[in-house]
């Protein structure tokens, strides 16, 4: 089966005119996306992440027909996003978290009704979908409220509904949880997981909150400087990049930093000490055994590095894996 999204050597360069002197302007080519090969299959949930300016939004815009690629090819649902824009966007959903697609001054319900008209959604299907979303996202109490009076969390639930009312096979979500409180974030994530499970909706999610990815996506694509620097399961990323582990021990009595081979004490807090080690060099069991041999301990814990931490390190290294 063909991929829902297929790109080959997808590239985007922008011409920037910078001021150089009083009147003269210099033209400079800036590469935003530098040859991306990506294939997303039906039903996948893909986390698409990268630091600011890495080319995430530019890629999404090329996939949704907003921007024309400078080179390479992109096919979405088998269509060319530029030449078949109207046909394509009828079959996909898009949420740009920082922009609204709702009618600001009208009740939320009116926005949905307008989208029904614009997407030519069959009335029966529309009412069934709306009822389901109202139930899933608890929209009932806010349907008659003008969008401008909704809280950010409420509005985002409205945006998600707006993007999914027409049963898109594929949705692009750019920062769907930005600025949301814990409860709203949870509601959004649960909703996306259910759409994916029950309707097989393919989801491409860009976010700065890696918890979104950890809870939703089996696959994580990391882009930096316009190139893909990681593409694979989240677990694989953790294994490949997260070789540092930490053993946390609570000693019976306070003491100087422990001297254990192949470890470094990275922190001491009273009787608690953090010993960092590389799991390709030694094992947690060996470290704990060595500690016990030196001093009596009360408790022990092993910490895995957070994905967020690993990703940050990857960005800081400048992407080159």
């Amino acid at each position: 089966m063909a991929g829902v999204v297929e790109t080959r050597d997808l590239t985007k360069t922008f011409t920037v005119r910078a001021k150089a002197g009083r009147v003269r302007r210099e033209r400079r080519e800036v590469v935003a996306v530098a040859g991306i090969d990506l294939r997303i299959s039906s039903g996948e949930m893909v986390g698409y992440i990268g630091p600011n300016g890495a080319g995430k939004s530019t890629t999404i815009k090329m996939m949704t027909g907003v921007l024309t690629p400078s080179a390479g090819t992109v096919r979405v649902l088998g269509l060319d996003p530029i030449t078949s824009r109207v046909e394509l966007v009828r079959r996909i959903g898009v949420v740009f978290g920082q922009r609204t697609q709702l009618w600001w001054d009208l009740p939320l319900r009116d926005s949905f009704d307008l989208l029904r008209a614009v997407y030519r959604i069959d009335p029966q299907r529309y009412h069934a979908n709306l009822a389901a979303f109202v139930d899933l996202l608890d929209l009932g109490p806010m349907l008659d409220t003008p969008v401008r009076q909704l809280s950010l969390g409420q509005r985002m639930r409205g945006e998600l509904t707006a993007a999914l009312l027409h049963d898109p096979a594929l949705v692009f979500l750019d920062e769907p949880t930005i600025g949301l409180d814990v409860v709203s974030k949870h509601a959004v994530r649960r909703f996306l997981a259910e759409m994916n499970r029950d309707h097989g909706t393919t989801v491409v999610l860009t976010t700065h909150d890696l918890a979104d990815i950890e809870q939703l996506c089996e696959r994580m694509v990391i882009i930096d400087h316009g190139r893909i620097v990681h593409d694979g399961p989240l677990e694989e990323f953790r294994i490949r990049h997260g070789t540092q582990r930490t053993v946390v021990v609570d000693l019976e009595v306070e003491g100087p930093p422990l001297q254990v081979p192949n470890t470094t004490v990275v922190r001491v807090d009273g009787a608690r000490q953090w010993l960092s080690f590389d799991r390709t060099v030694t094992t947690a069991a060996a470290v704990v055994a060595a500690v016990v041999a030196l001093r009596p301990i009360r408790d022990v814990a092993i910490e895995e590095p957070a994905v967020e931490e690993l990703v940050r390190e990857l960005y800081e290294r400048g992407g080159g894996a």
Binding site: F14, T68, V86, F96, L114
Partner: protein
């Protein structure tokens, strides 16, 4: 296929414009005040012409009744165009801030989406005022009604509206290339209105060339008015041009379509 696309575009326009009207109506006081001011300002506009005729009985050989007719034809065409696609001028801030993206993620023609989403009902005030002038001027003007002249009047209004619409789309498209279009657009929106409300031959030749051959505004009112009012022109223009407004309209649509598409392509290749 093309017919279907036009039908879909019109349906979308109705849907989106109605939504904008309902949104504006949420602020009733402002809505009413803006509407009243539009009617007042356009009324003043015609008063300006009347003032000219208190000083002279004729302008370039045209009586006040003739010029009122000319004004009515131009005003209704420009008013209708302003009512339907005038909001295309809102393109500039949208392109500058990148909000234009949001228009492209909907299964709607981008021009329809833009003009309908920014639809401004109060602009109907201008059409209403010009229509009153046109009706009164047509009634009192010294017109010898033949079948040709009866048919020519609605044909002129339709052609003129299309020419004005196309002119705005073309000037607005400049926003895709450079964001500061408002002033350029205003020159044609309001300057064009002025140029078509007076007999063309009273203007300097450079302006005549501009509105005849560069931006063919002269087809909106002056040339067909020569035929309907049965007046002579001191300008050396071939007489068939009096009937050429529909042709000019078609030509302008072709040009506008090409320019808009080029602009859209440029936007999509530069981003926001």
């Amino acid at each position: 296929m093309v017919g279907e696309r036009i039908r879909a575009g019109l349906a979308d326009y109705r849907t989106l414009a109605a939504a904008k009207l309902r949104s504006d109506w949420q602020y009733r006081a402002g809505f009413v005040a803006m509407f009243a001011s539009t009617v007042l300002v356009t009324a003043m506009d015609f008063a300006g012409i009347a003032v000219v005729f208190t000083k002279t009985p004729e302008l370039g050989g045209w009586t006040f009744r003739d010029v009122a007719f000319l004004y009515g034809v131009a005003g209704v065409s420009f008013g209708l165009a302003d009512f339907l696609v005038g909001s295309v001028e809102q393109i500039s801030p949208r392109v500058r801030t990148g909000v234009f993206d949001m228009l492209l993620i909907r299964p709607v023609n981008a021009l329809v989406n833009l003009t309908a989403s920014e639809f401004t009902f109060r602009r109907v005030g201008k059409v209403a005022q010009a229509l009153v002038v046109l009706v009164v001027a047509t009634a009192v003007a010294d017109i010898e009604w033949t079948l040709g002249r009866i048919l020519m009047l609605p044909l002129t209004i339709v052609s003129g509206t299309v020419i004005a619409c196309a002119t705005w789309v073309i000037t607005a498209s400049i926003a895709f290339f450079t964001v500061e279009t408002q002033e350029i657009a205003n020159t044609f929106t309001y300057g064009g209105d002025l140029a078509t409300s007076y007999p063309l031959h009273i203007f300097e030749s450079w302006l005549r060339v501009l509105v005849t051959y560069i931006v063919p505004l002269v087809f909106v009112s002056y040339l067909p008015a020569l035929y309907i009012l049965d007046l002579e022109t001191p300008l050396a223009l071939p007489s068939w041009l009096r009937f050429a407004s529909p042709l000019a309209a078609v030509a302008m649509v072709v040009v506008a379509r090409a320019v808009w598409r080029a602009g859209l392509r440029h936007y999509r290749s530069t981003g926001s």
